[in-house]
């Protein structure tokens, strides 16, 4: 078999390349190049890392005993649970909401476009801390929530305190703020899809909702997931601001409270940092699998022969 034959078969260009074929791989004996520079740099970095590690591990100012006392304390673990819950629920609310905003933005109805534009403008333009504080004050500002005919009789009415609890206020604040950022990310994702995709879908008689769910969203996901993973990690850390509500069960509040009691802020900052890092790592694993799922058809070798 000549080299050209092999190339042609590997390209899979032949009309009948469907038939599997075994090719003897022609390969030179390649002697690995040596990289003394790489070794030097690696050794240097290891030395620096060891010194930095030793400097922290043996440093009495870090109070490692306190760190280990509180790392798994029930108070801290409850904070981890709430922080995780706030993050996951906020993202679970803001992702579909952001998607709805994008679809409104692309709609022909100018009122829907305007509402979506205003929403993004408002929630992106005001500080999250202020938004959280206002959600916390909701029950003060609007003591009762009622469903009524405009200028007519009241149909249903409840006490705001029972609806907008601190947890609800924290989740509302975090998720509404997040939708503004997410919808811009999503919009960029949809814009990146070739117009020909919509046309091909229209040509086989698909209706608009089907085009969104079957063609556009699955393709946009590939582009959207990495920045959305970023945003999720961002929200994880934004949860530390929920004391503006005030909501007092999250991880940062828990570790701060212990630090204030023991007068040892450093080990408790380290406890909080450790858990944030841990949660981020878990989220990154999830992102890896999502990216792999939605990358199908794209991030795969251009193999001709399998």
């Amino acid at each position: 078999m000549t080299k050209d034959d092999i190339n042609e078969l590997q390209d899979g260009r032949r009309p009948n390349a469907a038939a599997p074929c075994n090719v003897d791989v022609v390969q030179n004996r390649v002697v690995q190049r040596r990289h003394p520079g790489r070794w030097l740099v690696a050794i240097l970095i290891v030395i620096i890392a060891l010194q930095a590690g030793q400097g922290m591990a043996n440093n009495p100012n870090f109070h490692w005993d306190t760190y280990f006392t509180y790392l798994f304390s029930p108070f801290v673990l409850r904070g981890v649970g709430w922080t995780l819950l706030l993050t996951v629920v906020s993202m679970a609310i803001s992702i579909p909401l952001a998607l709805a905003l994008v679809i409104m933005r692309e709609n022909e109805n100018p009122i829907l476009q305007g509402v979506a534009w205003f929403w993004v403008w408002f929630f992106r333009g005001t500080p999250i801390y202020t938004q959280l504080a206002f959600w916390g004050l909701f029950a003060v500002l609007f003591p009762r929530i009622s469903v009524a005919v405009p200028f007519g009789p009241e149909l249903l009415s409840v006490d705001s305190r029972w609806v907008v609890t601190p947890a609800v206020a924290a989740i509302a604040g975090l998720s509404f703020n997040e939708t503004a950022y997410l919808s811009e990310i999503f919009r960029a994702g949809f814009r990146a899809i070739d117009r020909g995709q919509t046309e091909a879908a229209q040509a086989i008689g698909m209706t608009k909702p089907k085009i969104w769910t079957r063609i556009l969203i699955p393709q946009a996901m590939r582009i959207i997931i990495p920045p959305t993973g970023n945003e999720t990690i961002g929200v994880l850390k934004l949860t530390s601001l929920v004391l503006a509500v005030p909501f007092t069960l999250d991880l940062t509040f828990a570790t701060n409270a212990i630090a204030n009691r023991t007068y040892l802020p450093v080990p408790l900052l380290l406890v909080a940092a450790t858990w944030y890092l841990f949660i981020t790592s878990i989220l990154m694993v999830g992102q890896y699998y999502l990216e792999r799922h939605y990358g199908r058809g794209h991030d795969m070798p251009k193999e001709g022969v399998r």
Partner: protein, 259 residues
């Protein structure tokens, strides 16, 4: 083949105009394509031939005139001299009568070849997945791609992708197939395999409208050739007449450049 009796007509265009803002892309096109006829449009780029094709399946809305398929007005209901636009759902239903093959294939990259083919039958027509799969595999076989159903578009050559696109359009069992420069984006050595597949549809009696720069192919398969320039049909006729013995000067000038 160019019969005028209504029941044998497939596509009928009646003084169709298309404006893009200031630009007048189609300036009153009249065209009749009979059932089973192969109508090939040639002409310089920007002459409006692709626009013409895209008006047939309503990828472009027309500014004036009428487009009919099997006698049914496309995109509108006409009453008392006024045109009432159809709902998006009705437009989608009308589009199912036509299949389109694009210059740049436009396969769905997140689906395998087979999934591309059965997407319409399953998610538009509500066909059962097992049945659609059977038909899809048969269609892939028909376009010479048996065994490649599990490949993603990125794993296929241009010619293979275009053949999947043809199978995808055929899966909807259209009454008319529209080909918009189906070989223009292909490497020269891959053009032949796509033209072979199109030729096999010709012998199966499919009604087709084809925009192409392959004059030789047009001569071989067409029943009816139209030459377009600046948004009008300058000349039309049988391929032997138009390609061999053009009457109009503009047609002669174009053919002398491409032949």
């Amino acid at each position: 083949m160019m019969s005028n009796s209504t029941h044998t007509l497939s596509v009928e265009m009646d003084s169709v105009h298309k404006h893009y803002g200031q630009y007048h892309a189609l300036r009153g096109v009249d065209l009749k394509v009979a059932k089973g006829e192969i109508c090939v449009a040639i002409g310089p780029s920007g002459s409006g031939k692709s626009t013409l094709l895209r008006c047939v399946n309503q990828l472009e809305s027309i500014s004036g005139g009428r487009v009919k398929i099997n006698g049914e007005l496309q995109g509108y209901r006409e009453r008392d001299g006024s045109f009432y636009p159809l709902s998006p759902g009705q437009v989608s239903r009308q589009r199912r009568r036509t299949g389109m093959v694009f210059q740049r294939f436009n396969l769905f990259p997140h689906m395998t070849a087979l999934q591309n083919v059965i997407e319409g039958p399953v998610h538009v027509n509500g066909e059962r997945k097992a049945e659609a799969r059977q038909r899809g595999l048969a269609l892939l076989d028909r376009v010479g791609l048996a065994g490649l159903g599990d490949r993603y578009p990125a794993q296929l050559s241009g010619g293979q992708q275009q053949r999947v696109a043809i199978a995808r359009a055929l899966a909807m069992e259209p009454e008319v197939m529209l080909f918009d420069e189906p070989t223009s984006a292909l490497d020269p050595e891959l053009v032949g395999e796509v033209l072979e597949v199109i030729k096999s549809l010709v012998s199966a009696g499919m009604t087709m409208m084809l925009v192409t720069h392959e004059i030789g192919f047009a001569r071989e398969v067409a029943d009816h050739v139209i030459f377009m320039d600046e948004g009008v049909i300058v000349e039309e006729g049988r391929p032997s007449e138009l390609l061999g013995n053009a009457r109009e000067q503009r047609t002669q000038a174009f053919l002398s450049k491409v032949l």
